[in-house]
Subunit: 207 residues, 2 copies
């Protein structure tokens, strides 16, 4: 099936939205935890989280301006702190449900449990295995369509002991982290292999 | 296991690199195809590709300035066109190998096959199922650490007929698309469910 720029405009709006949201491939799935100036907690699923740098350790979060995600943005800009919490298959339905437009805290609405560390004023999800605490560093507005790239510096990480290799690599599959595609589809994973560093004229091997 | 900003600096460099590269979760995996002004083709794996907007259809590509990915950036800026090609389990080792620092085309070096459409001067990977042709639109330099966000507009899409639903959602698993974690680990997926649009006070159902 071939779609080109000439017939994109003729596609049904929902068809196009699903098509373009699924065409980039599998995505990470994190619940972002924040709170507002009154201490009201907020939780929302994000599939657009990515690595910006290792030293200093920066993570990027892409936010659409016209969405329910707006509460998350307001809270990050006000309190300067937020958490990322990997989603497990044991609570992916609650994670999905947290995208609804609630007037109460999504923790309360979905039954997920807020949890705090002493380092920062943003709620973690107790049920998650891998958790990241971030401090807001920079907002980048993408002029092309108003999308906002938020960059945060990692303040702390929680990872189960038995899921970190000697070289620092996290075994996400062992930790139970799931992946997602499109706007609403969830998947577990099965490891094919970990491959050695690629060099010209050298054969790859599994590590 | 708990890491905090106070002890990040004491971590071994490679340990920290693996840790931070794996902590964001599963990632998309695309081979980016380009060519230079002499028609020399280039192919490189990228795990930092994401949805920027559906209408117009924009895709973002994150590029580290200090890497082999630099050839890709030069070619995109010179020719204004590039392709994204989903990686399948049948050629993920060749995709990984294409990250080596070759002086010849990575197509030639890895045995993957370049293929062209009439719409744009950048090579697709014939072996891929899902392919996206893009025109360069905007470069966003992230001041914090020199990372570069390239945004392109979709010019055309190739997707197998039997992998697109009536509502436009692509069945990535059926198409054979794989996912990756960290810098070097590859995974197939297994669908848990597709969930209905979340609304307050309404139960989710599988679709």
């Amino acid at each position: 099936m071939h779609f080109s720029v000439d017939n994109f405009d003729k596609l049904d709006k929902f068809f196009r939205r699903n098509l373009i949201n699924s065409v980039t491939g599998f995505k990470s799935l994190n619940l972002v935890g924040t709170q507002n100036n009154n201490g009201l907690t907020n939780l929302a699923p994000f599939s657009q989280v990515f690595h910006i740098g290792a030293s200093p350790a920066y993570i990027g979060l892409l936010i659409r301006p016209d969405s329910v995600e707006r509460h998350t943005l307001d809270n990050i800009e006000f309190t300067k702190f937020y958490t990322l919490n990997h989603v497990l298959s044991s609570f992916y339905k609650q994670a999905h449900q947290s995208s609804a437009r609630y007037h109460v805290s999504e923790f309360e609405a979905t039954g997920l449990t807020p949890e705090y560390s002493s380092l920062l004023p943003a709620p973690y999800v107790k049920e998650a295995n891998i958790k990241i605490g971030l401090q807001f560093e920079q907002r980048n507005d993408i002029r092309l369509n108003g999308t906002i790239l938020i960059i945060g510096s990692i303040q702390e990480l929680f990872v189960p002991d038995d899921c970190i290799g000697e070289d620092g690599m996290i075994d996400l599959e062992k930790a139970g982290t799931i992946t997602c595609s499109g706007l609403d589809t969830y998947h577990t994973t099965q490891k094919l292999a970990r491959l050695s560093y690629a060099k010209p004229d050298k054969d790859l091997f599994e590590i």
